[in-house]
Symmetry: C2
Subunit: 609 residues, 2 copies
Amino acid sequence: MHLGATYRGDGKSSFTVWAPNQKTVSVKIVHPHEDIYTMHPEFLGYWRIDDVPAYAGYQYVYKLGNSLERPDPASRFQPHGVHGPSEIIDHSQFNWNDSSWEGIKLRDMIIYELHTGTFSPEGTFEGIIKKLNYLKDLGINAIELMPLAQFPGERNWGYDGAYLFAVQNSYGGPSGLKKLVDSCHQHGIAVLIDVVYNHFGPEGTYIQDFGPYFTKKYNTPWGDAVNYDEAWSDGVRNFVIQNAISWFKDYHIDALRLDAIHGIYDFGAKHILRELAEETERFSNENGRKRYLIAESDLNDNKVITPTEQNGYGIDAQWSDDFHHAVHALLTGERKSYYCDFGTLDHLIKAYREGYVYTWNYSENRKRFHGSSASQLSAEKFVICTQNHDQIGNRLMGERLSQLLPFEALKLTSGVMFMAPYIPLLFMGEEFGAQTPFMYFISHSDPDLVRAVREGRAREFAEMHMGKQAPDPQGSDTFDKCKLRWECIDKPNHVQLLLFYKEMIRLRKKSLVFTEMNKKNSSFEALSDKKVLVLRRWSKNQDLLSVMNFSEKSVPVISSNAEFKGVKIIDSSDKEWGGSGSTMPLEIEPDKEYVIQPYEFTIYVKDNG
Amino acid sequence: MHLGATYRGDGKSSFTVWAPNQKTVSVKIVHPHEDIYTMHPEFLGYWRIDDVPAYAGYQYVYKLGNSLERPDPASRFQPHGVHGPSEIIDHSQFNWNDSSWEGIKLRDMIIYELHTGTFSPEGTFEGIIKKLNYLKDLGINAIELMPLAQFPGERNWGYDGAYLFAVQNSYGGPSGLKKLVDSCHQHGIAVLIDVVYNHFGPEGTYIQDFGPYFTKKYNTPWGDAVNYDEAWSDGVRNFVIQNAISWFKDYHIDALRLDAIHGIYDFGAKHILRELAEETERFSNENGRKRYLIAESDLNDNKVITPTEQNGYGIDAQWSDDFHHAVHALLTGERKSYYCDFGTLDHLIKAYREGYVYTWNYSENRKRFHGSSASQLSAEKFVICTQNHDQIGNRLMGERLSQLLPFEALKLTSGVMFMAPYIPLLFMGEEFGAQTPFMYFISHSDPDLVRAVREGRAREFAEMHMGKQAPDPQGSDTFDKCKLRWECIDKPNHVQLLLFYKEMIRLRKKSLVFTEMNKKNSSFEALSDKKVLVLRRWSKNQDLLSVMNFSEKSVPVISSNAEFKGVKIIDSSDKEWGGSGSTMPLEIEPDKEYVIQPYEFTIYVKDNG
């Protein structure tokens, strides 16, 4: 069932809303003049009216019963924010120039995650467009936008979205997003967006007046769970499915990143994620271009990314937090909170081998067995990173690795990621070692809510950051500090790190070892007290050996990788990348002793013959 | 991890208890003399002590911290009920005589569900043993005992069990159960027991003092859910797995019926039911005889009974409530509560074809889409019935079909069940049309709890039974009324119904059409305004045609079942079974008109050549 207002092209609009709680529902035009039209009840709690005299650009609310006036849950635009009326959008008005766009295959993606508000000085879609040449030059071929659904105020990560179908007004609204996607496609860049189906924002969410969007059956970190399996859940399920389809259809979005699916509780016989995957597949088939679903999941549950034919949910890929944690804990030495489950080279090797580190082994942090095997799943089922908005931002001070590790280690983390058989994801600014933090920020208008967020935030991080002064999430200076400072990009170290990333991306895209994504064709050797990893990966016609030093000291290494003799193709300690010079040989041979520099990362390619 | 007290055979016992909440744990012998021994902490919250001077028959409690004294959560016997001490049991003392027992294959089972307390005059295991010759003569080859885990008092369906490992003292305790199982096996009868892993009884449950057995993550009809996926859940999971294994190992139980698995909430990567299935499989393999798991499930979710290799939970079979509801609503005309989703012959045909009637179609009762397809699942995945403890007992007055339908219709329901490709289950007394109700009864000692149950019960059935006086669940007369009255068994109608059941069971066991359990080899024809069903089922060498009249009137029928000419092998309207005489022919031919009597049930076998 299509939802919301649809401009019909003849001065008339039709409206559909799901409101099973209500006995009468009307649509009330509030701008440019006032008018009210009684809607008709349909099957399963839907209300509908056609032929309302209303042009695109008109603003409206729904009148529920005798007095309650509410914006449209499926509003496409909230020009005055979460508390204001909804605006009729005419999607046919935009002239798309991407008809030749064929998309980027998921397995070929190199993803760049960004937050629209802090990525560019403008903090808008327009600001991103200005950086597309930069991104193309960097080599990435997909951007992933943090959530765009209308949230309260102008400063928010996006996870407080209250209108799932409405593009944030302060970012540029629906037309701004279309322009961005169109430009991206012309630059050969796919657009992924982050969508939140596990909860609704705490301010400006009025959907509970329309129907049972929530259930008390499950308790989530955000309160009552979204109702995916109880009475009337079909209306809620349709709401999110239509939402996904709307991004694909109206905005030409290439893939959705599904936020925190471990917060989507559904014990029904058809999990909403499976239905979402089926509907996405159907849309892809009908529209000649594959659209993807990528889950953020804390479950390490292989059924999420197992194909539907094998009784999985059929989600195309998921983020591997385990990979991140393995790298982070190994290099920073942090062991608090969830990092207590990581920290050794063995964890990283397991992440390289399987994607998950926890495959039904005991997690000290969770105090239970956790996860399932991913050994049978293909490598393209995992998106990995060494930094992302969550892992940076969910620290009290929002520190990036550039603030936690020496410069040389940043190149290493890049190498670690690109050597993996999985889909790499960068977080904006990572590539030039941005020093700007990514802290938590909001701009709610409800003072009680602001206080609750401030207190909750301080409590949440009490363990990890004892004694430090918490930044004020509501303060505009907190937000301002998070804006990328592009002026540093030409400065020493920043420029070399950027060049190193570009080179790694170039290698990642051209070598068959990487593009084949075969996680089985690899071997691992831990040396020097498990501080040095020798990672070998091969394809039919190429054989690569990477030696990585996770120690802050230079250490001797003897690799026993039999018969591997090869020449170096990249070395992070080279002066070219701002290093102090390497002592690793240009040509490597087995069973010889070499010395590797602190955090040095190298790749050798095997001699043919 | 093995749990509870184990008598070691040399005057010594060892004890293991899971109590991660506690800082100190001791075992305190309370009978025949007092003694206390400090236990030692082990990994993951377990406490253990070996070589405690204590014989089988000694009674004990655990002392938690400085003052709290509690029975053993894994107690094998509570001689003085749920609030008393636990008793050490020596399982090696029983002399088993069933070493030649090979079990009954699940697909061959004809199950007889019984409630120990009301089945026999004695209300004990001993009372069941006295009836084994009767049951063998009836033809069933498996009995399913309603839950035996120690509950409060002496009168209870069993779903208020507080000690999962302890056999109800008033039924005969551990030795009584062993004697029953041993006798059954010598009679060629398998023993299934009903186990409850979705909640613990409201009285006498002290496990929460030991560890986090419950979680607030999910809200169930019984309050907080059992903790299968949160911190420390491994201790709870081990508890139920050890419990299942204990029934198999210590009591030679053939199969477990898992109560209401829709109340087992587990979002972890390995569902507890899957782990239970894996451990049951492992036990079966190690012990040379297959043990089965049968779920009661309200989910219509095929993953429950899909093999683990296909990413299912691997439960062997499940009850099909849909089959019951389809028959019940069709014959009684009841449409209240969940019966509103049933009532037509089409529902019954779907149940025959798939096992589930709701396969992701809209349920008016649930107000949502419900279920998944079972078309790919084999017929032996479903246990069906037309009566069981729930469907009789979950009515305010506990009426059996014998109190709701005419005598002729009782034979029809029997025929409907046995004609299905699924595993049949009878509820005690059904076979002779017992007139005793099966009402809800308890014998709690906590007056607040008794009041709450009384009120809750009245509320629950307000819709279905307006105006009727509710029986008092706590009253002993309510229980007494539910005891089977065996003296009626030789009386008219009762005796003929019993003979009819015997004959149907005999046919069910001998015909290849039935024993092959091929649900695909069947066709359905609805006649006479969808009141008459012509069900044809065939195997390689036999072809059966059943004509069933669900109407209270005699109606004309013309079956178009091409080329089926056959002779009648059973007819419920025959005087032999207490009927008034049939007008259906001895030899049936296609396209001829016959008249079928009210509720008449017939089977014809096709002429060979």
